[in-house]
């Protein structure tokens, strides 16, 4: 069984103090605990600071386009359903450029774990507002402040009855790692929105800010109750719940395809007899 060292140790291009470091550490711990071997895992990312993460791990990697990690991950999962597929990217990548794919991934309930490093800012491009940036937040691109209301991904995912919806905070590494573990184990779409301080460009939602607000959901919290989850998901102003907000047992996407019952697409051979019959149908 793979141990944490098998997942590698790389120098990163992140700022000292960035929340990403803890997310990487937590993810590594979760992967080691999952019982999966590195080669059984595929991490698909977009572009951004968060999206660099898979380069710092020993796993299969598809580091695609900004905003497009979910479609690529979906294609890979449908092609080889044996792979454990994780999509990992920033808030801009997933809720900005990739907003439409976020909705579709939830609708499909594709069995992918989505890790969003949510620093409420565009980090790599130097600090423009992201969809999760708070209203009135001032940046160089928004010198008059952000005028749109912040996107609450957890709220939307719950509203759409996503299979697994969690929020975590990079500052609680152990808790985060546990949640990632559960997300990876979930058979269906799992969103883990991870609050992540960006020390360079988000001077409002800092480590201390998050740390003060975040509280872990109590043990008796029932994530299968949608009505309660809707309310929990909307908490943000005073206190921010972290943990598994909602979950259900919707059938994962690939299990709808009878063609996948006897193995992944990547293992199929072209049936020449079937093809001949199809051709004859045009006669």
């Amino acid at each position: 069984m793979a141990v944490i060292e098998d997942f590698g140790k790389y120098e990163t291009a992140w700022c000292p103090g960035c929340g990403n470091h803890s997310i990487l550490a937590a993810l590594k711990a979760s992967l080691a605990a999952s019982g999966l071997e590195p080669h059984e895992i595929l991490i698909v990312s977009g572009i951004g600071q968060a999206a660099k993460t898979p380069h710092y791990l020993n796993v299969n990697v598809f580091n695609g386009l900004h905003g497009r990690s979910l479609p690529a991950a979906t294609g890979a999962k449908l092609a080889n359903s044996r792979l454990k597929v994780i999509a990992e990217s920033g808030d801009g990548c997933n809720y900005g450029e990739g907003g439409n794919h976020f909705l579709s991934a939830i609708r499909r309930n594709i069995n992918i774990t989505l890790l969003v490093h949510n620093n409420q800012i565009y980090g790599l491009t130097k600090g423009q507002a992201s969809p999760t940036t708070q209203e009135d937040f001032i940046t160089k691109a928004q010198p008059g402040g952000v005028h749109a209301s912040a996107f609450n991904p957890v709220q939307i995912a719950v509203a759409m009855k996503a299979g697994f919806v969690a929020r975590a905070f990079s500052g609680r590494e152990r808790h985060l790692s546990k949640i990632i573990g559960e997300g990876i184990a979930h058979n269906g779409f799992a969103l883990i929105d991870i609050l992540q301080p960006c020390v360079s460009f988000n001077k409002v939602n800092t480590f201390a800010w998050y740390d003060k607000k975040c509280y872990e959901l109590p043990d008796d919290y029932d994530p299968t109750n949608w009505d309660i989850a809707v309310k929990k998901a909307s908490e943000w102003e005073d206190k921010i719940p972290v943990g598994i907000i909602y979950r259900n047992n919707r059938k994962p996407y690939d299990e709808h395809f009878s063609v996948l019952k006897d193995g992944p697409l990547t293992e199929k051979k072209t049936d020449m007899d079937a093809l001949s019959k199809i051709m004859e149908g045009y006669g």
Partner: protein, 563 residues
């Protein structure tokens, strides 16, 4: 009088069932051994408007559609008004007696007496089949084939309507529209371009296809979807075209040979993905079915206006191959070639088609499927040690491992990367990687399909063409020759790369070189000049949304009078 060939047009509003008449008539003709060339014109609406389905039927092989109509089946009055000028001498118009239009050479059919309104289209079918002398049993079994699984009562009524109208026509029509009978009909398939592309893709080992609906490409995917279960594929409708191509790339990366299909505007949205395919070196086949632009343009028309876009789509620089079938057979075989090239060179490959070819039914000989091996994704397996996804090799192609298939970890990256696949910003590595990717162009060139030479050598008139115009050009060459000129053709079924040495002599040896294209600016003529320095002498361009016909070439070239 027996005819070698007839051009039959069915015209009416969407929803009047003209597609059904057209399909059954075409298939019956093919089953009786005739060759056909179908042109479909329809508008961007579901009911109403004016559509046509035109079948050129012939005892001999045909390459293109024809303009002059021998039999016009007018499902409404508008059809007559619009197409009166296209009637050949000695033609006949079939129409409902209720329309109360009486003219010489018009055959008024008492549809109301023959059947109920619901079956008018079948009755019209019966009349035309009778007039051209098709065996009613063939038509009946074709009808069965089309409606077989549906409502039994309906099926019966259909057959009744067919029989009564067939009978009526035997008694009430003239005898000079009979097609020459084919004695021992060869068994052929009736297939349009999109069906042949789908079949080609399946025979290539396609496993994953994704798309967002867009005319005229959608039916490629509909055809694949119908067979997904049987062939072990997934055909996924994506939330948008961006998702479609990124899904396909994800699937391809994981080891499923993959394709997308789309048209101009949808393709525009895929362009970033084309570049991703090149950078990550992930195979993908892109079927780009052209329609007139810009923007939404004429959604149901035809055009060859996206050649430049296919040539240069994608930011940054990388090689590609672009195939442009000129026949149904080529739709099949070039789709196969596209998959081969995509997997071999690990990057984007195009099939550039258009509405005309997509919808044009023909009679084709069955393909020799058995002898054609499907592609395989990934060439090698390795264990343990470090795998270099982007290993530098002489030909630029790195051995391809698939993720999860062995212990070797596969790392694909859209940033510039080192051999392993990790991000680099090193100028030296950058140059190495650019060179590596561009080197693949050599391999692609080695496999290029040379342009097809048609007609006379060193002719007075040389028609240069590409893609779907092939048939029209072939027939135009015959027509020009019939006017006592020497005439030839140079037809490209692959527009990129092109290798000047393969054809420069032909251009130089011709008297007048005329480029025939379905666009307004002569895009292929521009490419020719760019690659060879040669300027064609004349361009025959069509961009009204209609296909290029032999007659159009003749008119525009000034070789026959404008009609």
């Amino acid at each position: 009088m027996e005819r070698d060939e007839l051009n039959i047009m069915i015209g009416g509003a969407a929803g009047q069932g003209l597609d059904t008449i057209g399909q059954i008539l075409s298939k019956s003709l093919v089953r009786e051994g005739y060759f056909i060339a179908v042109t479909q014109r329809y508008l961007s609406r579901i009911r109403g408007g004016h559509n046509t389905f035109t079948i050129r039927a012939s005892a001999n092989e045909v390459n293109a559609s024809k303009e002059q109509i021998d039999i016009l089946i007018a499902l409404n009055e508008e059809t007559i008004n619009i197409h009166r000028n296209e009637l050949a001498s000695g033609s006949v118009v079939l129409l409902d007696k209720a329309l109360k239009i009486e003219e010489k050479d018009f055959l008024s059919i008492p549809l109301k007496e023959l059947t109920a309104k619901k079956y008018y289209n079948i009755a019209a079918l019966g009349i035309v089949c009778s007039i051209i002398g098709l065996d009613i049993h063939t038509v009946e079994s074709t009808l069965d084939y089309f409606f077989g699984k549906k409502n039994e009562d309906d099926a019966k009524e259909n057959l009744k309507a067919l029989a009564s109208s067939y009978e009526w026509a035997l008694k009430n029509s003239q005898d000079n529209y009979k097609l020459k009978r084919i004695d021992r009909p060869v068994q052929r398939l009736m297939m349009n371009g999109n069906e042949a592309i789908a079949l080609g893709a399946m025979s290539s080992g396609l496993r994953f296809a994704s798309f967002y609906p867009m005319s005229p490409s959608t039916s490629i995917m509909i055809n694949l979807a119908a067979n997904a279960e049987k062939m072990g594929m997934i055909v996924e409708q994506a939330e948008d075209e961006i998702s479609a191509i990124n899904m396909a790339l994800g699937a391809s990366f994981a080891g499923a040979p993959a394709m997308v299909s789309t048209s101009g505007g949808g393709f525009a949205l895929m362009i970033e993905g084309v570049s991703l395919s090149a950078m990550t070196e992930t195979p993908i086949v892109i079927a780009l079915a052209q329609r007139p632009g810009p923007a939404t343009g004429l959604p149901t028309g035809t055009e060859q206006g996206d050649l430049n876009l296919a040539l240069y789509a994608g930011h940054g620089e990388f090689p590609r191959a672009i195939f442009c079938p000129g026949s149904i057979e080529e739709c099949f075989y070039l789709t196969r070639k596209a998959f081969e090239q995509a997997e071999k060179n690990q990057g984007p490959v195009f099939i550039l088609t258009d509405q005309y070819l997509a919808d044009s039914y023909r009679a084709v000989d069955p393909f020799d499927i058995e002898s054609l091996p499907p592609v395989t994704a990934g060439e090698s397996k390795m264990d343990g040690s470090l795998y270099e996804r982007y290993a530098i090799t002489p030909g630029g192609i790195s051995p391809r491992l698939l993720p999860g298939m062995s212990k070797g970890l596969v790392i694909a990256d859209s940033d510039e990367h080192n051999a392993i696949g990790h991000i680099t910003e090193d100028p030296y590595l950058r140059v190495q990687m650019v060179n590596k990717r561009l080197k693949k162009a050599e391999g692609i060139k080695n496999d290029v399909i040379a342009p097809e030479r048609l007609g006379d050598e060193d002719p007075e008139i040389l028609l240069v063409s590409w893609g779907s115009t092939r048939g029209a050009v072939i027939e135009a060459i015959s027509m020009i020759k019939a006017l006592n000129h020497t005439a030839g053709g140079l037809h490209f079924s692959q527009v990129w790369p092109i290798i000047p040495e393969q054809f420069e002599g032909i251009l130089e040896g011709a008297g007048e070189v005329i480029c025939v294209e379905g666009n307004a600016t002569g895009q292929f003529a521009g490419l020719l000049r760019k690659e060879t320095g040669f300027s064609v002498h004349k361009k025959l361009l069509r961009y009204d949304g209609l296909p290029i016909t032999p007659e159009f070439i003749m008119r525009k070239s000034g070789l026959i009078n404008q009609s």
